[in-house]
């Protein structure tokens, strides 16, 4: 039996859809209600929904053997897990964005607003640019508009929200998509189950 952590929300539903097509269906999962875990004994899986940013925590600490997490979350938290597959869903980009005509004059610390401080720090450390991180929890786009920050580091799907506010993606930090991850000890002790799950997912991708 493999414990599978799914991220709550649209990405998780699409991820479950892939799992179901790969032969790991569990219809009661989508039924709603108060149940927290959902099991299909015959297929050998037990699912549970968790907050997307918590998926790597459940997997790294072994409460889930495998899970589906966005690359953004993996880059931000750098958990010690195996990243076995790119599921090719939930595609978007982690970008530096700001006013279209913005230019880094380089004469002071760059103020970067973001939900992803680790990714932002690593990105600018690589370039040797000193920055001040402004950690926000949502509505990041508003930060440059109100002069709170020079730029933002955030996920960009279509770029529409940015455009409507006179902003634009300035630089791509990383390509993002959903990844199939596994706990390292689970991989050792449930090798056959995890490998066959990968193979069956690989067949339908």
């Amino acid at each position: 039996m493999l414990n599978v952590a799914l991220p709550k929300g649209r990405l998780g539903e699409r991820a479950y859809d892939l799992m179901a097509r790969a032969g790991y269906e569990c219809p009661e999962l989508l039924a709603g209600g108060r149940k927290l875990t959902f099991e299909n004994e015959r297929a050998g899986v037990r699912y549970f929904w968790v907050k997307p940013s918590d998926v790597p925590i459940y997997v790294e600490r072994g409460a889930a053997d495998v899970g589906i997490a966005g690359k953004d979350i993996l880059l931000e938290y750098a958990p010690e897990v195996y990243e076995l597959m790119d599921l090719g869903i939930g595609k978007c980009r982690m970008c530096v964005a700001g006013f279209q005509d913005w230019r880094d004059e380089g004469d002071r610390d760059l103020r970067v607003a973001t939900k992803f401080p680790h990714i932002a720090k690593a990105h600018y450390a690589e370039k040797g640019r000193d920055i001040t991180i402004i950690k926000l929890n949502g509505s990041i786009e508003i930060a440059p508009l109100l002069g709170l920050s020079d730029v933002i580091v955030d996920i960009v799907e279509t770029g529409k929200t940015l455009l409507e506010n006179g902003l634009a993606p300035l630089e791509t930090v990383a390509d993002i998509s959903a990844r199939f991850i596994a706990n390292t000890a689970s991989y050792a002790f449930h090798y056959d189950e995890i490998r066959s799950m990968c193979e069956r997912l690989g067949e339908i991708l």
Binding site: E60, G62, A63, E80, V81, L84, F189
Partner: protein, 354 residues
């Protein structure tokens, strides 16, 4: 539970003639700042000594042992120490118990295999279900050198191999290199037979030599009988120091590796010493949850005394029960929040069960 495991492990190491090694509690800070890459942690707990020198609470044991060892012949030592580290960012420093062993000096294949066998036996002493994953850094670095990747790219590829992240490997290298690395990253299974699958791949000379070393290890290990040693090229410790054999151990019930080790000749060279070195650490803190049944009671019995006059009888009864091996608490009133198998009451010259 942890202390029983500790005893078993120390008996195991002493049984192979390893000598106990006691490490100084504090070290000069330079020892760690000069060998930062060898440490798994960036942060070191420091303080200023009375003579003004910056000292550190040791975040690692191996560096101290190497520093204090004269590699004449072959030194075989084991330790049980506390190290001070921040496990996860933002968590603050913690005292972490660690046991392990080091084999330093005139290393030969027999000594190397002995250390690997002891790592595998350590895992078996902890849990029935165990896996020791071994790898040789030379296999992957051979492929990377042949592909003429620069240092930054090599580092990124090692990280990708470490995470078995095939899409990342493909993004970082040319197609044929990526295909070989992906095949290596995916390999996993019992050492001897999985090695044959690696040997069937077309690999550069340096990688083949590394596979040869693993094959020699596999042959040596056969003399120890059945050991849960697996081949897994995703085991990559810091390649600056660990450039040769590396391994990591897992036991069922612990979500992360509980043993980490490998060959670190380069640390010796860096510290101006000759010879080879191999060792491993057992992370005792990670074993706390392994196979530990939840204690149902805080003590076998509680004896309450009704008045001061009844106390001597309560104490006498407790002493009798303790002599029979029971754990007994004596108190006037039942303590809040504790659970006892049975509760007795000493009152008016008699002890009765409540």
């Amino acid at each position: 539970m942890a202390s029983r495991i500790e005893q078993r492990l120390q008996a195991l190491y002493a049984g192979c003639g390893y000598q106990p090694f006691r490490v100084k509690k504090f070290e000069r800070y330079e020892l760690y700042s000069e060998n930062r890459r060898f440490l798994t942690t960036e942060k070191v707990l420091t303080f200023t000594n009375t003579d003004g020198r910056l000292m550190a609470m040791k975040p690692d044991v191996t560096l101290s042992i190497v520093q204090d060892t004269q590699p004449e012949g072959l030194r075989k030592v084991f330790y049980r120490e506390n190290v001070y580290r921040e496990q996860r960012p933002g968590e603050g420093f913690r005292e972490i118990p660690q046991t392990g062993l080091e084999c330093i000096g005139a290393l030969d294949a027999v000594a190397v295999a002995e250390v690997v066998s002891l790592a595998a036996k350590s895992l078996k002493a902890i849990s029935g279900e165990a896996v020791l994953s071994v790898s040789h850094i030379g296999v992957i670095s051979g492929v990377l050198e042949a592909a003429a990747l620069d240092e930054a790219a090599q580092k990124a590829v090692f990280a990708a191999v470490g995470a078995k992240n095939v899409p990342a490997i493909k993004a970082l290298c040319r197609e044929e290199t990526a295909a070989v690395l992906a095949a290596l990253a995916d390999l996993y299974g019992p050492l001897a037979e999985t090695l044959s699958r690696a040997e069937a791949l077309a690999l550069p000379e340096k990688s083949c030599a590394a596979l040869g070393a693993l094959r020699a290890l596999s042959t040596q290990l056969a003399a120890y009988g059945e050991l849960p040693v697996y081949l897994d090229f995703s085991v990559v410790n810091d390649v600056e120091y660990y450039h040769d054999l590396v391994f990591r151990g897992y036991v069922s019930g612990a979500p992360n590796c509980v043993i980490s080790g490998g060959r670190y000749d380069r640390l010796l060279q860096r510290m101006g010493k000759r010879g080879g070195a191999i060792g491993f650490a057992v992370y005792l803190d990670r074993l706390e949850a392994v196979g530990r049944p939840r204690a149902e009671f805080d003590a076998d019995a509680l004896i309450c005394y009704a008045s001061d006059a009844d106390a001597p009888l309560a104490v006498q009864t407790a002493e009798q029960l303790r002599a029979a091996g029971e754990t007994v608490r004596v108190e006037a009133q039942p303590p809040q929040g504790l659970r006892f198998r049975r509760i007795l009451r000493a009152e008016k010259g008699a002890v009765t069960e409540c």
